[in-house]
Subunit: 551 residues, 2 copies
Amino acid sequence: MSQTSASADAIAACRTQLESQLEKLRAMNSEQAAASAVRPEVALLQSLTDQLAELSVERSKKNASKFTLKTPKGTRDWDPLSMALRKHVFTTIERIFATHGAVTIDTPVFELKEILSGKYGEDSKLIYDLQDQGGELCSLRYDLTVPFARFVAMNPTEYGSIKRYHIAKVYRRDQPAMSKGRFREFYQCDLDIAGTYDAMVPDAECLCVVTEALDALGIEGFTIKVNHRKLLDAIFAICGVPEDKIRSISSAVDKLDKSPWSEVRREMVEDKNLAETSADQIGEYVQLHGGRDLLAKLQQDAKLTQNPRAVEGLQDMELLFQYLDVYKVMDRISFDLSLARGLDYYTGLIYEVVTAASAPPGFKEGEAPVKSKKKKDDDEIDESTVGVGSIAAGGRYDNLVGMFSNSKKPDAVPCVGISIGVERVFSILMQRIKEAQAKGERTAVRQKEVEVFVMSMGDGLLLERMQVCKMLWDNGIKAEFLYKKKPKLQAQFAVVDKEQVPFAVLLAPGEWGEGKVRVKQQLGKEEGGNDKGEEVPLADLCRYLKEKRDA
Amino acid sequence: MSQTSASADAIAACRTQLESQLEKLRAMNSEQAAASAVRPEVALLQSLTDQLAELSVERSKKNASKFTLKTPKGTRDWDPLSMALRKHVFTTIERIFATHGAVTIDTPVFELKEILSGKYGEDSKLIYDLQDQGGELCSLRYDLTVPFARFVAMNPTEYGSIKRYHIAKVYRRDQPAMSKGRFREFYQCDLDIAGTYDAMVPDAECLCVVTEALDALGIEGFTIKVNHRKLLDAIFAICGVPEDKIRSISSAVDKLDKSPWSEVRREMVEDKNLAETSADQIGEYVQLHGGRDLLAKLQQDAKLTQNPRAVEGLQDMELLFQYLDVYKVMDRISFDLSLARGLDYYTGLIYEVVTAASAPPGFKEGEAPVKSKKKKDDDEIDESTVGVGSIAAGGRYDNLVGMFSNSKKPDAVPCVGISIGVERVFSILMQRIKEAQAKGERTAVRQKEVEVFVMSMGDGLLLERMQVCKMLWDNGIKAEFLYKKKPKLQAQFAVVDKEQVPFAVLLAPGEWGEGKVRVKQQLGKEEGGNDKGEEVPLADLCRYLKEKRDA
């Protein structure tokens, strides 16, 4: 009998016995005892598996061709140009947040597993767990909202009232569709205001902030859809939806931005067993959208004005619109009764910012995203197909912090927040950069910021190039030189051209002896570059370059 | 029989059978086949364990007092003040890096497990694995160097020659000693230069950069220890250390910064079976340190000058010192033959920057870190006990990229890098901030940057406060107001005082009617604040505030 079939037999026997044991465990009621007791077995088995895996890794290392050189599925590297853009986006958003007096916090990339459990409904299956290597069970953060609520609940005195932003990576074990911009590791960018304040004042500021941020980023033509959970729930109740079906009917309604009403109605009636009359009544409401006009119409609706929840919702919307007028945001607003938002924890105002700015040619709003002509693998990043859609979203969630604290009032720390879809912002702006590059235009974002390249003509002059660079560095002027003792002039100019370095400082033995260098400003042809450059005394070099640079 | 004992019996039976099966697996030679075949069993058992754990989490949620509100062991939240300091530190370092023409990249927080395997020697056990939830096996990154090498190997044409920095979190499943600043999640800050260049030119620039960065951060009194792996290995060979013992003897020598020579000698002779004569010969070399004088002395050493590796090392040091003279770094340098550095992958120059700047009173270099008077739990962060020690380190590693690429030349992409210990920098600077705060001094780093607080006297004037804030925000002036319809004047001034907001803009119904507001500059008593403030026309407010602010 061969080694391999011996292994196969042993493994088959192991599987049979394991399964029978697991069956017994499944049958038992004392899940908690079983869970903790079975853990050491798992850890043992896992550790053995790891040892075996380690051996096979060692073996495969010897055979280099077997080595897979890639990032894990659904993740990506950020190259220098992407990073320059990322920095530009974050700095812009942070400036707006700070202008509104927001502070920032950070939390660990993983949380205790129990902190995340029961917060994301059926999406909990997308949570990444760390391996149980002994000690606490941890999971990678799924969003920034739950860690924020945990942070506030842990520090109620100091941070029970806080306006904080947080820009960081989150993790979802989703089927990645990178061509649609869906990753397993991606950035979220959240601003949340926690604390007891007068109605709709912080809510209105969230919408003011997101408008200022998207404007500052140059995102054009966006619309802010708003709705109110209390109003929506009242509508469902009025239309005869049983209380326990409200969230499920709500999530059907939320699909109206992608599906026609007929399909949503079918889902309600056929899949969710809602009475046809209820569905039809709902249809009359949720297909409405507008602005102040819609609010006025609803304020005349006798069924709504007799429902306390609806009245609360309508009063909030009235206040909101008043505040948004002052903030000059009303012209972006669409009061849209079909907006429901997926997450369970919203308790009041909800909103979603949609844009058509990134639509590739021939791509219209409402259509499904079109694949680019060349068939792409799902694992390949293809920024061009990132289409229209949500670019920011959020709402009021008054009870989330209460889930973590021992306070008797679930809404002891009410919150409202906005999350800006920075990954989508990157895609839109990167597409613009690529388009500009294709046209040979200069782009606002450069991957490398070097201002001066120090080079030598003739004799190498390595120590002298180092000396000039050190002087420039000490004066805050960004400079480089070629790390060769005797570089060719051509090789040095190649760097200047490739990286579009604005200034070249040339050292020649004769001029250097007289304490002088030659400065050549690299200008586009239309700007008329000075071909031979200008002689500048070394002692004057920093002043000269700063003047030219800042001109 | 009770439910619990029934479970216990079933689990005991399960354990026995599992162990016998595992014994069979262990005995088999076909580890690779076994590893892949046993994986589904583990996954199944794991998934069941998770289901059970989920149930017990659900149960414990109903009993809120059982809920542990904390971050995972070895991790921490960053509060707004820490974040403001972190931003200051990163911005300062990034400015220096960019001045030297470095670009930045980012990599995923987890890598394929096989990428990290076999890179960290015995520290591999500290790698955090993600749970096997089907699909690829992944681990959290342990440092930024291996992901960098993987990135360069994946993009050899574009980035085979790159000067890049990366500031990001890394993960080590170490026993945390947060009182000593040892975390499981912490920042690394690396600058690396990859590419084929003339000897010691990029190496010298790394030491120039770290000096400029620590100077810019205000870290005083640091020393840069330098040594060379080739020289060190030659010394070991000359002293009769067998080739296969060189790394292990090297790591014993590396302890000379903490232990006396007698203890290191004992470890070599007793624990590592080195001949006493060899140990004594090593002792004569590795206790030497100095600068150019030491280099001159070694250049006269006949045993060294006859050893090709030693000659290479000495030539490199000669060049390095020449370059460091130009970069004005030589006065920081200590050529220290005891510096060995733990990591296997170094191939040339190695260095470590040590500082005594953060030493608490009564704490002298060379002593073990002293616990503060009050006994602290290891899980509690206590910045004050972070003592002297390494604040930056690095070296040349010419073969790491080759481990990932298929190139026949292992040093096809030679690299040199420096890692700045930013966590230690935080500790030192945070201690200074706390000391300044204790003395009531103003600190350079504020957690909140708000410049103006807009408040009302009398009638609430909520919409008017919003209008003024919106005007300020649109002009890039950082402003806030209290989110209440009719806030008390006292409550508003309390915010101004607590958060040290420089300007208060007061709205009063009468003045507002005349298009005016009142501006009160909050100055320290010694600066003589204007008690009643100044009346400013609303149309002039932004200009007025900018002038005062920038004065």
